[in-house]
């Protein structure tokens, strides 16, 4: 399912440099990426550029992707796991147009995956690069608004405040209530914001086969996790880190142990839970897995309907 770019810029029109950014900007970003890889979890300042999209739409991720992408790369872009929502479609089209690269929705075929807030369910393989779009890169920002102070806290490895925050969660709610942007410690040194991914995805960052790059455009920071790097979610001995669990399998493909989105069906409380990762869900359905609400064709024997499901 690799789509080759059809609309390469016409010869008689003025066109952008390959992948939109000028070469000097790419060099600056590339240098920041190398420092980020050398100091896993440390946020490297970089001179973020204006992009032809507003801050908050993935300008950091787009700049990182533009700096690393080559003519032979195959790009996948996901937005909350989905390949077919506005942000994903427009960023994919942006690179198809400005870089003329092939794009795909199939996770294993991609060499670069730009993501907004999910890690694909299909395990990534060596040689792939996962580029995260990051809104607020500083995990301590909501605890300490001053950049001078948070920088000093990272310098001195002073992360007590973060544990206080998690403790207050427990004191108020009886458990750690943080469910996304759950802070991690990288290689035993830097506390890092994994971007607003659900904490369900945190274990996938640990010892990943793929290189993970993070770009925050508005906040002008780049950071990285090399492959095979220790990424530990912060927790307490008596309140260990745990990921979300879902009572039901995906209503469309029957998958368990995946992250599900809630979809409201009517105004009477009807709802369904479906895979957030659209490629994972579609490829499972193509393999014949069928969830309770898939409808039409008779269900396969290996996926019995659950009686908990509301009838449609």
């Amino acid at each position: 399912m690799i789509a080759h770019a059809a609309d390469a810029p016409a010869q008689n029109l003025a066109s952008y440099n390959f992948a939109y950014l000028d070469e000097q900007t790419k060099r600056m970003i590339r240098r920041a990426i190398l420092k980020g890889i050398a100091i896993p979890g440390y946020q490297v300042p970089f001179a973020s550029r204006e992009m032809p999209m507003p801050y908050g739409w993935g300008t950091g991720g787009v700049q990182v992707t533009a700096a690393i992408i080559g003519r032979d790369d195959v790009l996948k872009v996901i937005d909350q796991g989905a390949d077919d929502t506005t942000n994903a479609v427009s960023i994919r089209a942006f690179f198809a147009k400005t870089a003329g690269v092939a794009t795909t929705t199939t996770t294993p075929d991609a060499t670069i995956i730009q993501t907004r807030h999910r890690i694909p369910e299909t395990p990534l393989h060596a040689g792939q690069v996962l580029v995260y779009q990051v809104p607020i890169p500083e995990p301590l920002r909501f605890l300490e608004p001053r950049e001078t102070e948070t920088r000093k806290m990272h310098a001195l490895e002073e992360y007590g405040l973060m544990h206080v925050k998690l403790y207050e969660d427990i004191a108020r709610n009886g458990r750690i209530a943080t469910t996304y942007a759950y802070p991690v410690k990288v290689e035993g040194r830097y506390v890092m914001d994994p971007s607003p991914t659900p904490k369900f995805d945190n274990p996938k960052m640990h010892m990943s086969e793929a290189l993970q790059l993070f770009g925050a455009g508005r906040e002008k920071r780049i950071y990285a996790i090399p492959p095979h790097t220790e990424v530990v979610s912060l927790d307490f001995e008596d309140h260990p880190f745990e990921i979300q669990h879902f009572d039901e399998p995906c209503a469309l493909c029957g998958a368990e142990q995946v992250y599900l989105d809630e979809v409201v069906l009517d105004d009477k409380g009807g709802r369904m839970f479906v895979c957030s990762d659209t490629h994972h869900c579609e490829s499972r359905r193509a393999e014949g897995h069928r969830g309770a609400l898939l409808g039409d064709e008779p269900a396969f024997g290996d996926q019995p309907l659950t009686d908990k499901e509301p009838a449609l």
């Binding site: 790419k26 050398a38 700096a67 990272h154 492959p227 095979h228």
Partner: protein, 206 residues
Amino acid sequence: MPHTPPSTTIYEGGFADPVGASQTVFRALMDAMAQPGTIHALPHVTAPPAPLTASASALIATLADADTPVWLDPALTKTSAVRDWIVFHTGAPITLHQSEAAFAVVAAPEKLSALNGFALGSQEFPDRSTSVILQVATLTDGAALTLEGPGIKGRASLAPDPLPQHFTEQWKANRQAFPRGIDVILAGPACVAAMPRSTRLIRPEA
């Protein structure tokens, strides 16, 4: 890429395709940095004056520009050709002070006495450090180094030669300054490997 002979003037031997060549070289270097100990092929895209090698020159032409002071070791400054080539093709200022350099290019690593003269960055800004490009004759036939750390599954080994004197001890000191420290880029013949500051050297028998 066609093999281009070494340039006769400083104005020749730069990237023929700056966009494609710098991207290819950077991706090889990024992969090398992300997986210390692995060796990545570099395309033959530059033809610098000797003793600057094709791979080291491709790396510096990919990374350096007017924002990044470059330091050259004495072997590269015997004549002005290498300095002038780098200035012409990248626009980078050449600095005489190791501690000011964003990049250092070293043609004779065995004569480089100390690694700690380079910029190590500060505890607040460890990224403000020197990336040191060492020109080496081989990445596989020297004395073996055993590496551990981020980017490495278990252990990796690399055998670059020549290396700076007392490299193991110097690297240990560099690692102890973490997150401050230098990153080493090893430019071998048509290939590149890297040792970011996060990499630990261990005794092979341990």
